[in-house]
């Protein structure tokens, strides 16, 4: 076990930021911490890193109790902060060398690691650029390079794709997967469920400081009643009139009308699309767009908390 958090409680005055949190991050996995803003993701990370004092609980990293002076443990941890944390007056090369130098003493080894990190994040052409001359995406890449240059065994990325364009976001996500493939264990926090679904092997969903679910994507989706989400666009007839008869069909969990569309949710493991299509044909209803989606982590969050991730 790379990280083990047991019964962690963290309070800010009367506010309970982390409420008896339990986490286990296994060697070699990409572990996702998913939750809306203010759910306690960053607080959990700061507690794991011993930056924040805790009110209760135990934190172990690499099998040892984590304390602020656990320098031998810190040597194998890399952090990519939510806010870009680089020195404005140092250029790209100097920044990476400075942060890598906090971990690696040997000059030759450090030079090799810095060059590799620059190449890894694709900043070779920008070595001599100062941070204020870099675009948002490039700055995020520099932020990542500063955190991973020393090749840590555990990499913690705290919302590294916030305010990043889609292309840079994909680059970052691909990079994280490559780091993991190279042997690093990754803890990835985000409030973008698509990202977490895309790269994480196991996921913990947080809300109001509490862990509401933990497991693989499949395990999490198996926790809810919904199987498919079918959307039907009506070109003739009133979709409102179809709510009752469609709701009475077998395996349909719920029906919702939105403008000229019906949103139908079916039960887990049941394919309802064929039955719905034949019923629409039988009733001579002309349809436009019809599509079917599998449940997402947002559905998981919605079913457990009663609200959508994006709404929070």
């Amino acid at each position: 076990m790379v990280v083990k958090v047991s019964n962690l409680v963290k309070r800010y005055g009367d506010l309970i930021a982390l409420d008896h949190l339990d986490l286990e991050v296994r060697d070699g996995e990409i572990f996702g911490l998913l939750g809306p803003n203010g759910s306690g993701k960053t607080t959990a990370i700061n507690c794991i890193l011993s930056l924040l004092s805790i009110d209760k609980g135990d934190i172990e990293v690499f099998g040892e109790k984590m304390t602020p002076s656990s320098y031998h443990l810190k040597r194998d941890i890399g952090i990519v902060m939510q806010n870009v944390a680089v020195v404005e007056e140092l250029n790209v090369l100097e920044n990476i060398d400075f942060f890598c130098g906090l971990y690696v003493n040997d000059r030759e080894e450090r030079k090799k690691l810095v060059d590799e990190a620059i190449e890894f994040v694709g900043l070779t052409e920008f070595k001599k650029f100062y941070p204020k001359k870099l675009s948002g995406g490039l700055l995020r890449r520099l932020n990542i390079a500063c955190g991973i240059a020393h090749k840590p065994k555990l990499i913690i990325l705290d919302e590294p794709t916030v305010a990043v364009d889609p292309q840079s976001r994909n680059n970052i996500l691909e990079g994280i997967v490559r780091l993991n493939q190279a042997g690093a264990t990754v803890i990835y926090t985000s409030h973008y469920m698509e990202e977490v679904e895309q790269i994480c092997s196991r996921i913990c969903i947080l809300d109001k400081g509490k862990m509401i679910a933990q497991g693989t994507k499949e395990e999490l989706k198996g926790m809810i009643r919904i199987g498919e989400k079918i959307t039907v666009e009506f070109l003739s007839g009133r979709p409102e009139d179809a709510v009752d008869w469609m709701g009475a069909m077998p395996h349909v969990a719920s029906v919702e009308c939105k403008e000229n569309r019906l949103l139908i949710k079916t039960e887990v493991g049941k394919n309802g699309l064929e039955g719905i299509l034949s019923e629409l044909k039988k009733r001579d209803i002309q349809t436009g767009l019809i599509y079917c989606e599998l449940p997402t982590l947002n559905d998981v969050f919605l079913e457990i908390t009663g609200k959508e991730l994006r709404d929070v």
Binding site: Y12, N46, L49, S50, L51, L52, S53, P68, S69, Y71, H72, K74, R75, I77, I79, M81, Q82, N83, V84, A85, V86, V87, E88, E89, L90, E94, D97, F98, F99, G101, L102, Y103, N105, C146, G147
Partner: protein, 381 residues
């Protein structure tokens, strides 16, 4: 590792234009301004041009045989005559010379001297003062000679020797120069502006103040090592700024700040440590954002500079007269007074006392900072 962190902090501090403006450019601008406002500021004696005076000696009257001789002998300094005397054959000639501004005035000597000027001014005042004084002395000698002729030689010898019954003396190394107060307080202000650097370094170390600090706190480098290397680098940068300022004062503005260079450099270093430790403490203790801390440091530095006489020399005197302890308790006054001690006083007692206080206060502030920084976990970030 310590020296690598030191090197990178040094590079980033040198490249930080914002901080360098306050610690170097702004003091240089103020020094230039002072230099323009107070020309010839360090000259403690004023030299005047020799005054051109005309004399017409009426032949019909028994004139004073010693008057012209005394006019020619009068000196404004050892090698500079007070008067350049031109004798005229007629009053008209003297009047023409006066109108042509060849002379500042002329004296018509009959049984007494009558002065003629075409206007009033500094030279005319000098001429009149000389004749008033000469007339008084001459009439005193004449009176004594008529009443007690035997004493005339004794009296004459007394007047030949210039007797001073009161004499101002100064026990110091150099003559007092009130203008220097402005420049010393400017150096003191620059030392206090080191507070910006100290505050900024704390922001780079305290995890609850910046993401950069949080990232460094997560590294395997102990916080006190980060602190030590950072403070050493800003002290060097700040000290270099002060040295540049002093060099600018001495070599460009030609300000005479004294010849005891070693002591001046030592005082500048101690002042620099005082300013940086003060700013670092503000950075560590004051709650709030960087803007609030910078505002506190600027306000505090400017108020202390005001009290140490930077804006008006008399304020310093008034403050120290009202509360004598402020001479040592206020950092601005303490730094400025230590510089005065080097410049004015032969004994080094005041200098050593000022140095001991500055270094002592710095050590106390750093000790408090160390205790604060030892805290390794934060309640919130």
């Amino acid at each position: 590792m310590f020296w690598r962190i030191f090197r990178y902090r040094l590079i980033s501090n040198i490249r930080d234009v914002g901080t360098l403006f306050w610690t170097l450019v702004f003091p240089l601008c103020l020094a230039t301004f002072f230099g323009l406002v107070f020309p010839n500021i360090t000259s403690s004696t004023i030299t005047f041009e020799t005054v051109n005076i005309g004399v017409y000696e009426a032949v019909d009257y028994p004139g004073d045989p010693y008057l012209i001789e005394n006019l020619k002998a009068a000196k404004q300094s050892e090698n500079v005559d007070l008067f350049h005397v031109t004798q005229y054959e007629s009053i008209d000639e003297a009047e023409d010379a006066l109108q042509n501004k060849e002379i500042s005035g002329y004296a018509v000597i009959t049984d007494q001297a009558v002065l003629h000027f075409s206007g009033s001014g500094f030279n005319q005042t000098i001429i009149k003062s000389f004749f008033d004084q000469y007339t008084q002395v001459r009439s005193a000698i004449v009176d004594i000679a008529s009443e007690n002729p035997g004493a005339i030689s004794e009296v004459a010898s007394l007047f030949e020797e210039e007797v001073e019954y009161t004499k101002s003396t100064f026990a110091g190394r150099d003559k007092p120069d009130s203008i220097l107060i402005y420049f010393y307080s400017l150096i003191a202000m620059t030392c206090l502006y080191g507070g910006f650097q100290g505050q900024k370094e704390i922001m780079h170390i305290q995890a609850n103040q910046s993401s950069l600090a949080a990232r460094q706190n997560i590294s395997p480098v102990p916080k006190l090592k980060l602190f030590g290397s950072s403070i050493l680098s800003v002290t060097l940068v700040q000290y270099l700024s002060i040295l540049i300022l002093i060099a600018y004062l001495v070599f460009v503005l030609r300000i005479n700040i004294g010849d005891r260079i070693g002591m001046i450099l030592a005082a500048a270093f101690a002042g620099c440590c005082l300013g940086i430790s003060f700013g670092a403490l503000v950075g560590a203790v004051v709650k709030g954002g960087e803007g609030i801390k910078v505002a506190i440091i600027i306000s505090f530095s400017m108020i202390l500079s005001l009290m140490s006489g930077m804006m008006q020399a008399s304020i310093k005197i008034a403050v120290e007269k009202a509360v004598p302890a402020f001479k040592y308790a206020l950092p601005g006054n303490l730094i400025a007074n230590t510089f005065y001690a080097i410049y004015y006083f032969n004994d080094n007692e005041r200098f050593y006392f000022g140095m001991a206080l500055m270094i002592g206060i710095s050590i106390v502030l750093y000790a408090i900072l160390t205790l604060i920084l030892r805290r390794q976990r934060y309640a919130s970030i």
